[in-house]
Amino acid sequence: MKSIVLSGVVAALLVFSGCSSKEPAVDTQAANSAQATTEVQAPATETVSSENSVVDSSTNSVSMTADEIQSKLPTVYFAFDKYNITPDMQARIDAAAELGKEDVAKSLNVKLEGNCDEWGSDEYNFALGLKRANAVKKALVADGIDASRISMVSYGKSNPVCTEHTKECWAKNRRVNFKLLP
């Protein structure tokens, strides 16, 4: 009987004998704190000049018209966790495609910027923003816009137009913006 009890105790101890005994990989580089601190040096700060900031004076009239077109381009909104285009948003894209066929717009390209609300992991959100931009791109191509004029970028949740934690605010952030490029 004693041996049975003892065996039981041994078995129970084995059950509770901890979980992981994986061999740790020791980082020798970070072996002393002084070294860790000396490694923290500031690399050169990367400064990126803002694109399209220079406008050639000879194209002033086109740029004015382009500005007008830019101001008329719509924002396309999406439902929570979705990237399909609803009928009311399809009408907005159709209107944008008509603007894209104007003579002055034919030489311009468009960048579709996909955006998301604050929910979800960032990588998945970036993909969701991209799928939204891609859905708009497909709709524009179906409306007769040349695919080569369209580029896309997803900003995930890093480009919010509204930062409050409300459903109205989240809805405003689930969007695709049109940005004209020369």
């Binding site: 065996s7 078995a11 992981s20 980082d27 970070a30 860790a36 990588e123 970036f126 995930g156 890093s158």
Partner: protein, 416 residues
């Protein structure tokens, strides 16, 4: 009877080494430790800050029952304070400022009134005191013969959005109390360590015409362009040897996972599903784990690289949106509510490819960005709860979570 006992033994051996089993009752009581401050320099604010840091680190070790009283002492006294006579261990330290403003720290560890361990530390500036605190905790852990906590001395790299389309990439210690901005200007996201030594990192720049993956050498500040893609480009994982990257990119508007060879500069598409495939993580040399929307909601899948066999990994949760892999273990973020109009709850769960168990690691709030330490001993994550943000450390072996409050903007992505 022998058969039953043998089965019992076999059962216990099978699960003795499984981190997905949660140990909810620990038989041993932890040895007590008190901390005595014998500093002669610096003001009370700084002394208290250092004291709090060392208490937090000792707690995270999970091998002591830590007394939180800030006690003063003389460094050269041979006896511990009367109040600490019953303590199994007493850590006494002295902060000193030398002529060059460097911070020097001396420590002694007492056990039964005998000094059993002592060491001196020095850092060039007092504002990096937390690295000394982490180093002391690391050394005490080694002295006590416990599994290594080398991750305590590793650096965390993270990005934070400071305003729309503008972000910073920041280096920090594991508690994020030390922060040093290494890259600012433009929108630079998804930093990822490029090697074990943490001497370089990758990041995505969204400031140019196309999303571009860049490489920064921290030692000399050189920035190198790796490649660009329309739509999106994220470095999700770096292989153990640093020679392969798992990228999520969309050269044709379709987010998929690609394996990029750092030496040949060639890449191979690994997923072809028409929805969303992201967040690829290496699992050994022949398998990846990733997030896919192929069931209509985001969930975890694995893919063998030789046979292309895809397997669903999780059958729980409405939406499993991010993961990190170590060995056979996968920690992932599960959205437990799918209500657009309420506060969503995101919890961390741990699974193993060897068992069917799911271990729930957090219970409240929005818990994101889980990252295994390199040795798999700990998991780092960001917790948002009731309007407050914190960085959390989970010690899997000890079933303990520790939170350090964050007092700055939201973290966009982090790597450890």
């Amino acid at each position: 009877m022998k058969i039953i006992l043998s089965l019992l033994m076999l059962f216990s051996l099978m699960f003795a080494d499984d981190a997905t089993i949660q140990v909810i009752k620990k038989v041993d009581t932890l040895p007590t430790i008190a901390v005595e401050d014998a500093s002669t320099d610096y003001d009370d604010t700084f002394r208290l800050r250092f004291f709090k840091s060392i208490i937090a680190d000792l707690n995270v070790l999970s091998i002591f029952n830590v007394d939180r009283h800030h006690q003063l002492a003389l460094f050269d006294d041979s006896d511990v304070n009367v109040a600490d006579k019953d303590m199994a261990y007493v850590l006494r330290y002295k902060l000193e400022q030398d002529d060059n403003n460097a911070l020097a720290v001396s420590i002694k560890l007492f056990n039964n009134d005998n000094v059993v361990f002592s060491k001196n530390y020095k850092v060039p500036k007092s504002d990096v005191y937390m690295f000394v605190s982490h180093a002391i905790a690391y050394d005490l852990n080694e002295f006590m013969g416990q599994p290594s906590v080398a991750w305590m001395k590793r650096k965390v790299i993270f990005s934070r959005v400071v305003k729309p389309k503008e972000s910073e990439i920041v280096l920090a210690d594991y508690t994020l109390s030390y922060r040093h901005v290494v890259l600012k200007g433009g929108l630079n996201l998804f930093p990822k360590w490029a090697n074990k030594e943490q001497t370089a990192f990758y990041f995505t720049s969204l400031s140019g015409a196309k999303p571009t993956l860049k490489y920064v050498n921290i030692k000399n500040g050189n920035v190198k362009t790796i490649l660009s893609s329309d739509g999106m480009l994220v470095c999700s994982d770096v292989s153990e040897d640093g020679k392969h990257l798992l990228l999520t990119m969309a050269p044709h508007g379709q987010p998929d996972i690609y394996n990029y060879n750092v030496q040949t500069h060639k890449y191979k598409r690994l997923t072809t599903y028409s929805g969303i495939d992201v967040n690829g993580q290496f699992m050994g040399k022949n398998k990846i784990v990733f997030i896919s929307s192929r069931l209509g909601y985001p969930n975890l899948f694995s893919k063998r690289l030789d046979t292309n066999e895809v397997e669903q990994m999780v059958y729980y949760g409405n939406s499993n949106v991010a993961c990190s892999v170590h060995g056979n273990y996968v920690v992932y973020t599960a959205r437990e509510t799918s209500n657009e109009f309420s506060q969503n709850t995101f919890n961390l769960q741990l699974i193993s490819t060897n068992t069917d168990y799911i271990r729930r690691l957090t219970a409240t709030g929005v818990n994101q960005f889980p990252r295994f330490s390199r040795d798999g001993d700990a998991i780092l994550f960001i917790k948002n709860y009731k309007g407050q943000s914190a960085i959390g450390v989970i010690r899997l072996k000890y079933n303990k979570n520790y939170l350090f409050p964050l007092r700055f903007g939201k973290v966009q992505s982090l790597d450890w």
